[in-house]
């Protein structure tokens, strides 16, 4: 399973892609690709996002579902989805709408 991650051009914030909502700030809202075809659709959305200057560095990342929530396989991507582990007062984890991605 994969989702599409990127950084927003204007402020660098980590975002993920959703066909319905566009580039979203919460990983929980990211669209999950279950097969090759869906991955290709996401990759194309990444290229479009780049072209439209909304985001930079789009990248498909591996995830798993844990207790119904999206959980990136790599620690790097889990930290990106929450914020610095040593500063819980900063980044996405500090926002009221944050739900821990397992």
């Amino acid at each position: 399973m994969k989702i599409l991650a990127a950084n927003r051009l204007r402020d660098g914030e980590a975002v993920w892609f959703s066909t319905e909502r566009g580039w979203v700030r919460r990983i929980a809202e990211a669209e999950i690709a279950l097969d090759k075809e869906a991955e290709e659709r996401l990759a194309a959305a990444g290229q479009a996002g780049k072209r439209d200057n909304e985001i930079v560095d789009p990248e498909l990342i591996d995830i798993e579902i844990v207790d119904g929530s999206v959980r990136p396989i790599r620690l790097r991507e889990r930290i990106r989805a929450a914020g610095p582990t040593i500063r819980p007062d900063l980044g996405k984890q500090a926002r009221p709408d944050f739900s821990a991605a397992a």
Partner: protein, 556 residues
């Protein structure tokens, strides 16, 4: 301190305007990321995990109070209320929005600061001994030469697209506090038998994936030849340095593969053509730059000795701080104070906006308006009257910056690691914090004595782990963090690279492993005066391996 002349001011201001225009065009979609990335990097703007990062140059680590206040202003206005001092004496802000960076750079320019050449394959910010111009053991202040190098290397057309980044460090004392042997070029300012100033020139040091210590290619280069000789080195590197492989592109690889002797011969041959050119520095020009670094007028304050003696009797914590954080000044009534940014359990090198302002106030009130950044991620007040030490200490206590741990096990160097950095493979800060908490007891730290732990979250070695007495390198193995330990490294005048001790440790094992290493040292040291590094150099890794891996080590 150096003050910008008209040319400097015009150059930095026009660069801010130029970059502002580039950012505007990028946000408007007129230029692509591929076009923009090299431009932003040349202005110190990186993209990391959570946001952009702005790296601000602090030439040779020297700051005035107003510059330190401006860094506080940047932290508060454009960032999240703090900044991070790096091992290159720079400051990094981890949260600025791209759209705000031109305004931040304009604010920085108003106090003669910038981010130019804090990234990219060019000559980076030149670093120097943090006690320069103050230390009792110094031959001369190396900063005027660092400033000459800064002016010469800024947008130098020949050296702006080198095979790879290029870093120069200077020291003016036998004791190397600037880690010059880990630099592309390390310059040791000294005097010859006739009392003339010049440099021992070291080339080809570096950490990263292939750690190598610099080789001395010239024992004495007269000061007027600084630029002609460095140009000769750069030309040889620019010509023969590899551009086909990023991992072999640093000058250290060229020096290593060519051999120091042959490399030196090539440099000398090139220098023959340059030494009498316009690159030869006129004495008047050197002295003019030197004048900017004239030491403050230090009036005698002989009452300091008695004041310090009495205050010591009154407060053990002040006494401990004096023993750890105060360094001998060339004027007997003065001292250099290190402000530890390593409070127990805190992030090494991080400082809040209000702490920056408070240190700026202290520098203004007691320190001739000057502060320094050390490569060990602390701040320094270089010129404080001994009579004022207690007042400075009391004010540092108020702002939580009076930790008495310089050179001790909790004075850890750590890179930002995977908590921020997109290059990192593992976290550094939480490990540093846990080690700091484990060894929090001042008595225990004092008993252990001098022990430098340095850690990096990836092979690039921003945290100098190769030259840590105990070095820790974070890697990613099968999706999890793993920490490799090296022992016996040192970044001073007797530099050495650490030896890998054995297999790595998981995040829940690494602090115990450090404790095992420390306990082993305490058990094997000849007496309390033998430091960790001395004991390691005397005995070698065997007892540490045995303690860490037990039977596993014997079997191997």
């Amino acid at each position: 301190m150096y003050r910008y002349d008209e040319f400097d001011r015009e150059f930095v201001t026009s660069r801010v305007a130029q970059f502002g225009d580039q950012v505007e065009r990028r946000l408007a979609g007129e230029i692509t990321e591929e076009q923009f990335k090299p431009l932003r990097l040349m202005n110190g703007v990186y993209l990391q995990l959570h946001a952009y990062m702005l790296r601000v140059a602090i030439p040779y680590g020297t700051l005035s109070s107003r510059q330190l206040r401006m860094l506080a202003h940047i932290a508060r206005t454009y960032d999240r209320g703090y900044g991070h001092f790096t091992t290159r004496q720079n400051m990094q802000f981890h949260w600025p929005a791209l759209a705000d960076i031109p305004a931040a750079l304009a604010d920085l320019a108003s106090v003669e600061m910038h981010s130019i050449q804090t990234s990219g394959n060019c000559i980076r910010n030149v670093s120097a001994d943090h006690f320069a111009g103050a230390a009792a053991d110094e031959v001369a202040d190396p900063r005027p030469y660092a400033e000459i190098l800064r002016q010469w290397s800024s947008v130098h057309p020949e050296f702006i697209f080198l095979p790879r980044k290029f870093k120069i460090a200077l020291t003016g004392a036998e004791r190397d506090r600037a880690a010059i042997k880990t630099y592309d070029i390390g310059l040791h300012l000294k005097k010859d038998a006739e009392g003339r100033l010049g440099f021992a020139v070291w080339v080809g040091g570096g950490q990263g994936r292939t750690p190598l210590l610099a080789k001395k290619i010239r024992d004495f280069l007269p000061e007027q030849h600084l630029l002609s000789y460095i140009t000769a080195i750069m030309r040889v590197y620019n010509l023969y340095g590899r551009r086909d492989n990023k991992w072999k592109a640093r000058i250290k690889i060229l020096v290593h593969e060519t051999g120091a002797e042959e490399f030196a011969r090539q440099v000398e041959a090139e220098w023959e053509k340059l030494k009498d050119s316009e690159l030869k520095l006129a004495d008047a020009d050197i002295r003019a730059i030197e004048a900017y670094f004239a030491p403050p007028l230090l009036v005698d304050r002989p009452e300091g000795d008695e004041a310090v003696r009495l205050a010591r009797l009154d407060s053990k914590s002040f006494s401990d701080w004096l023993d750890r954080n105060v360094f001998t000044h060339r004027h007997p009534d003065y001292a250099s104070v290190t402000v530890s940014l390593k409070a127990i359990g805190e992030t090494p090198g991080d400082i809040s906006d209000s702490q920056m302002e408070a240190v700026a106030d202290l520098a203004e009130k007691y320190g001739f308006d000057e502060a320094r950044v050390s490569h060990e991620q602390n701040l320094v007040l270089p010129h404080v009257a001994r009579a004022d030490l207690k007042a400075v200490y009391d004010e540092l206590v108020e702002i939580g910056l009076a930790t008495a741990n310089i050179g001790l096990i909790t004075d850890i160097i750590a890179c930002p690691g995977l908590d921020y950095c997109s290059l990192a493979n593992a976290r550094s800060i939480p490990v540093a914090q846990e080690i700091s908490r484990r060894f929090a007891s001042p008595e225990r730290q004092a008993d252990i004595g001098e022990l430098k732990i340095k850690m990096s979250g990836c092979i690039n070695a921003c945290g100098h782990h190769h030259v840590g007495h105990i070095g820790i390198l974070g890697v990613e193995k099968k999706g999890a963090e793993l920490y490799q330990v090296t022992l016996g490294g040192s970044g001073d005048e007797n530099a050495s690279l650490g030896d890998i001790v054995g297999r790595g440790f998981g995040p829940d094992e690494i602090v115990d492993a450090v404790e095992t290493i420390v306990d082993t040292y305490l058990a094997i040291r000849a007496d309390k005066s033998e430091t960790f590094l001395q004991a390691y150099r005397r005995i070698g890794p065997a007892p540490f391996r045995e303690a860490l891996y037990g039977r596993e080590a014997k079997a191997a």
